[in-house]
């Protein structure tokens, strides 16, 4: 079981305080990180993955403070993030993407990820030629083949049709069942909340909710932050 404890994490860009002393921990294997646009969700994931350097605070992963380490070190420790805006290697084929990132260059692991993300038909195509839905799945497949113990997924179904989203949610469910730990940032709560263990909600850089999905909608602070915005459903 992976252990992640975030304490008093802060990040400001100039005078803009994007994360304001954020503290939470992962109690179970999956957590949804939600909140309105600009709440600081991506910034929080970036801080966990080492993409941005936190201004203050601690991030303990398996009793090691990883705050401020470089991305490749954090990734090797087992935390890998996907990008909210897909970011493929444009001249590489799908197969080549996975060959770059597969831990131990293990072909079995790679084949499994291709199948899980339903990318087999695109194997030989370069990222330039892929439809958006396949690019989103490639983003996920890249993270899976690294063998990361904790996946940070930034809007894995953002921008997808309901049908495409269902496919990815199914993949995530399967990964969960296999014991894969993950933090999922999403706006589409109706599709994500049913299968996560915990929810952390951010608003303007502060945590306004931290508890089970069952209590989420009833919470006063959540209602406040989401007025007119709750579960737009995509």
């Amino acid at each position: 079981m992976t252990r992640l404890v975030v304490s008093e994490l802060a990040k400001h860009f100039g005078g803009n305080r994007v994360l304001d002393r954020v503290s939470f921990s992962m109690r179970h294997g999956s957590l949804a990180l939600v909140g309105p646009n600009g709440a600081g969700k991506t910034t929080l994931l970036n801080a966990l993955a080492g993409v941005v350097r936190p201004s203050a605070g601690r991030i303990e992963f398996d009793d090691l403070d990883i705050a401020g380490l470089s991305t490749w070190k954090i990734a090797r420790l087992g935390i890998v993030k996907t990008n909210q805006v897909v970011r493929p290697l444009h001249s590489l084929t799908v197969d080549e993407h996975l060959r770059v990132f597969t831990r131990g260059n293990d072909p079995v692991r790679r084949a499994r990820a291709l199948r899980a993300t339903n990318l087999e038909e695109f194997r030989e195509q370069t990222a330039d030629q892929l439809p958006f839905g396949a690019l989103k799945r490639l983003e996920l497949a890249e993270a899976i083949v690294t063998g990361a113990r904790l996946l940070l997924l930034d809007e894995p179904i953002g921008g997808l049709s309901r049908l495409e989203a269902e496919g990815i949610v199914e993949t995530l469910r399967t990964l969960r069942a296999q014991g894969q730990a993950m933090i999922i940032v999403e706006h589409r709560l109706r599709e994500i909340l049913p299968f996560v263990d915990d929810v952390v909600a951010l608003d303007r850089g502060r945590i306004i909710y931290d508890g089970p999905p069952s209590g989420f909608y009833a919470d006063a602070a959540v209602r406040d932050a989401y007025i007119g915005r709750t579960d737009a459903g995509g």
């Binding site: 970011r87 001249s91 770059v100 990132f101």
Partner: protein
């Protein structure tokens, strides 16, 4: 499921054999062979010498394409390592090293080490800053060499009287054709290997590669050190062709022509910059044509470089996709 073999000597050999069956690679080998044999039967001494120069430029172009072309880290440092090799040849020769192949082996080692020392600190910087520093390297080295020789009050700046690699250009050409073919083969294999794949990934989006747990620095340093070793080796062969190892070898023509060859090569062979093989075809064409223009009846020496530079600009402008340039801006997230 996957046709990917598991690691192991047998599989490595089989994989190597499979890669080397690529038609375009075989065509390049045939071209090198034909160009090595041709002047043995017809043509002038000048023709043979032009082909000798072509193999040297092609070797440089291969080194540049393998490192800069494949990673996207554009280096202008080629003349530095070329000059370093030429100087090392002279120095070693006058300090008792005998035998062409010992001299060239030393050149390769010196280039490898020099490349390592340069690459380790500078490749921590991202693209443009690295390029800038690589540009300063040959400039500084050239002025240093000039200053040093002036102190010694020597008439020529560099080592004269370096022994020829072979008694005639016709005899030298087969030797350099074999080494060029060897550099081609190693580069082609590296490009098709997992190592080469990571380098291409770095060119596309280095941050994305690092964020998945791959430390890119060792890959970049390895390929630039190797390429520097090759460039110094080529500098050694140049010194043994002209019998002189000195200031001339730091000239920027040893950057411009190889870059041009790699760019034109990238445009004629599928795969873009870093495609390796194209340099062979483009190299013979460009160097032979420029040597032809240099003949006394034309004497257009001054025009050759501008003509080719113009061609390169056109290629970059109108065939960016052929060169493997990113197709558009990418948002960070």
């Amino acid at each position: 499921m996957s046709g990917e073999p598991r690691p192991g000597w047998k599989n490595l050999l089989q994989g190597t054999a499979r890669v080397l069956r690529a038609p375009i690679y075989l065509l390049a080998l045939v071209t090198i062979t034909v160009m090595a044999v041709l002047p043995q039967f017809f043509g002038t001494q000048y023709f043979a010498l032009s082909l000798v120069f072509a193999t040297i430029y092609i070797t440089l172009a291969l080194a540049w394409d393998l490192s800069s072309g494949l990673t996207g880290y554009i280096s202008f440092g080629l003349p530095f390592f070329f000059g370093l090799g030429a100087m090392a040849t002279g120095y070693s020769y006058y300090h008792g090293v005998g035998g062409s192949f010992s001299l060239l082996a030393i050149d390769f080692g010196v280039g490898l080490l020099g490349g390592l020392l340069f690459a380790l600190p500078t490749l921590r910087l991202r693209g443009p800053f690295f390029t800038l520093l690589s540009l300063l390297l040959p400039l500084i080295a050239a002025s240093f060499v000039v200053a040093f020789w002036q102190v010694l009050h020597m008439p020529t700046i560099g080592y004269i009287g370096i022994p020829f690699l072979a008694p005639s250009p016709q005899a030298e050409l087969p030797i350099l054709s074999v080494t060029t073919a060897a550099v081609l083969t190693v580069s082609f294999l590296l490009r098709r290997s997992h190592f080469g794949l990571v380098l291409r990934a770095i060119r596309d989006d280095e941050d994305a590669v690092e964020s998945k747990g791959i430390r890119t620095l060792p890959y970049k340093v390895a390929v630039f050190s190797f390429a520097s070793g090759i460039a110094a080796f080529a500098g050694g062969t140049y010194a043994m062709t002209t019998s002189f190892g000195g200031i001339d070898s730091f000239d920027f023509q040893f950057l411009i022509y190889p870059m041009l060859i790699a760019i034109v090569g990238a445009a004629i062979v599928r795969g873009g910059l870093g495609g390796i093989v194209g340099s062979v075809f483009a190299g013979y064409a460009i160097i032979l044509f420029s040597q032809y223009l240099t003949l006394p009846e034309f004497n257009l020496q001054e025009l050759t470089l501008p003509i080719f530079a113009f061609v390169a600009i056109l290629l970059v402008l109108f065939l960016p996709s052929a060169l493997g340039r990113p197709s558009g801006p990418r948002e960070a997230s």
